[in-house]
Symmetry: C2
Subunit: 418 residues, 2 copies
Amino acid sequence: MKAEIITIGDEILIGQTLNTNAAFIGSKLTELQIDVSFTCVVHDNEDDIKNEFKRSFEINDITIVTGGLGPTHDDITRKCVVDFFKTELVQNSEVLSDIKKFFEVRGRQLTKTNEGQALVPKIATPIRNSRGTAPGFWIERNNKLFIVMPGVPYEMKGMMENFVIPELNEKIGERKIFKSTVNLLTTGIPESVLYDRLGNLDELLGGASMAFLPSQFGVKMRITAQADSKEKSQNMLDVIEQKIRSHVGRFIYGKNDDLLEGVVAKLLNDRNLKLSVAESCTGGLIANRLTNISGSSKFMERGVVAYSNAAKVELLKVNEDTIAKYGAVSMEVAMQMAEGIKSVSGSDIGLATTGIMGPTGATPNKPVGLVYIGICDDKICSAKEFRFGDDRLLNKDRTSQAALEMLRRNLLGISYDD
Amino acid sequence: MKAEIITIGDEILIGQTLNTNAAFIGSKLTELQIDVSFTCVVHDNEDDIKNEFKRSFEINDITIVTGGLGPTHDDITRKCVVDFFKTELVQNSEVLSDIKKFFEVRGRQLTKTNEGQALVPKIATPIRNSRGTAPGFWIERNNKLFIVMPGVPYEMKGMMENFVIPELNEKIGERKIFKSTVNLLTTGIPESVLYDRLGNLDELLGGASMAFLPSQFGVKMRITAQADSKEKSQNMLDVIEQKIRSHVGRFIYGKNDDLLEGVVAKLLNDRNLKLSVAESCTGGLIANRLTNISGSSKFMERGVVAYSNAAKVELLKVNEDTIAKYGAVSMEVAMQMAEGIKSVSGSDIGLATTGIMGPTGATPNKPVGLVYIGICDDKICSAKEFRFGDDRLLNKDRTSQAALEMLRRNLLGISYDD
């Protein structure tokens, strides 16, 4: 089964909005073993939209469209669907009652504009929207599927989960070729070093394929195998994964959708450990990443964003003389911050960052990108120096990732160095 | 001038990586008044890549390709370029010396794999890479441009800024139609209410076009006008913006690339005010957003992530009886947290959040999505209740946005209610 994802909206073409919808749908179709062959973004323009509808409908089994279904005048997808399939709009009473209920619950007034959203193409099965007002459309023609959903990610996701994925799953039925994919997530090792350490790839992979995907969070290895049963393709992967781990296992923090913060959270909770974080240069990013994990209240005792020296001294008991002697960005201060937050909060582990994220703040001896990360547990306090780049936000990401990785290796007893 | 952006890489098709490159390039081309007519993502597959090269090169003046130039075996873009333009690879000595230098500076060993990256298509001008090892290619043929860059965002951005944008700017020369665009950023008002409050849009816009773009951070209005001079199109926009502000001005926190955290940072710095933030449910997100702004050390005194009740009592002087009586998620505790962080830190303003982000933590009286935000300045302390949805990460985003908006309105003396 081949699918194309069409996203409608100038805001994506001109780079004002990231195309998270195509990514979400792409990942869900891939899980269903549907081959996403192409994704594209089209102008808010009737001719462009209808041309792409035609091209995709001809060559694909499934076309999924998002965007342009809102209540305002610039949303033209519904009209294009009606024209393309030569059908008409009819009012759907279930959708109308959904919309009325949506406004009732929120204590808001229903507007004429919203009421018009209950008009759906006659040949479509409406996809009901539990999170907003615009319905989606499910159309079957010539043994092909044409699915339309709103562009608001939260609403689209609700429709995918409650309706589209279960329906697609049923349609797919018996499969002949089974693909399996695994992503191994590494951090703290450059792409070319990783590549070289793996040795002969053809030998390693034995017919499977592999891609290296670098980012500021590390390098992801994506391995895909196919066979005539799900079990066989999965077995191939297991063997390859084992081999890879024997070469570079210490750098692998997780698999697939794992997040480093989630891996660390699980380790902490499994051991009933409390963590506190003292952040200078990361400014709350580490605490924010950890608290994105549901259940983080169990291990996360507190976080302190100690931007000012006063805060470092008062809240973290950093020695004023140490700051005066070595500077706030130093190995010594990183270590004292970690020690301080640990003892003040009574946590099992203290983690601390201090550095120069840029673009300003550099001194002759301390360039932008210089970072110290400290970690303290019941046995030992240590700190490590890092030199990152010159982009503030990337530096924050890299620092938070390195700090969480130091924490992971501390918990597992793996040394941080190669 | 019409352009297409082609992104190569299965990792984007299958939704593992967001297509931030197309967004960045799209926004830069738009600034140059180049019409981004289409963007697409293509399989790591030679035939698919060459087909899309052909289609785009035929109908567009500019084709920009990213991805698949890395040092590993799965990167096939260079080969496709060579085949498509029927040219060959030659070693470029400048690129080779760039690569050698790159490794030298980092004290790393040059590998054979990396050395091979100095081979570039004969007909191309190499685009040198100051941030990585793979060069890009600039090809001119039949009065059309074909530009290829690596997929690593940081490297691609360096090439865009240092080479591609200045070169394109020169190529473009005299223009006939001038487009201007403004984005007005609102928060705290639903899309349909905003739409209705603006009244008759045709009258308001007088020939310009407008789109409404909702997200968890608010609704963006994008207005585009065109005329035969830059000045005229800009004047049209100014008139429209003024009219819109007369209807819904209090909800507009910024324009174009403004971030609410940046707007607030500027207000605080202009007034020489110090801010401290006490976060429970947002877990560091507000501090993180504020410290993303360069220069935030001037106003950001400290942040506390007080997840545990103990931290709320110790660090923020919240009254234990208040927590026992009203619960940690309450108007009263939000107010005391804001008051506490302000007085403990000696800041001018204290901002605090407490709420239930989900998926767990709800009680019969307190559903997921219930949030209280407190704010305290030298004159008054107040708190406000919000009811958001059931998605943890969206709830964190929404809460941080509402808190920063309360701060903005406090600084400007605008009431938070409609």
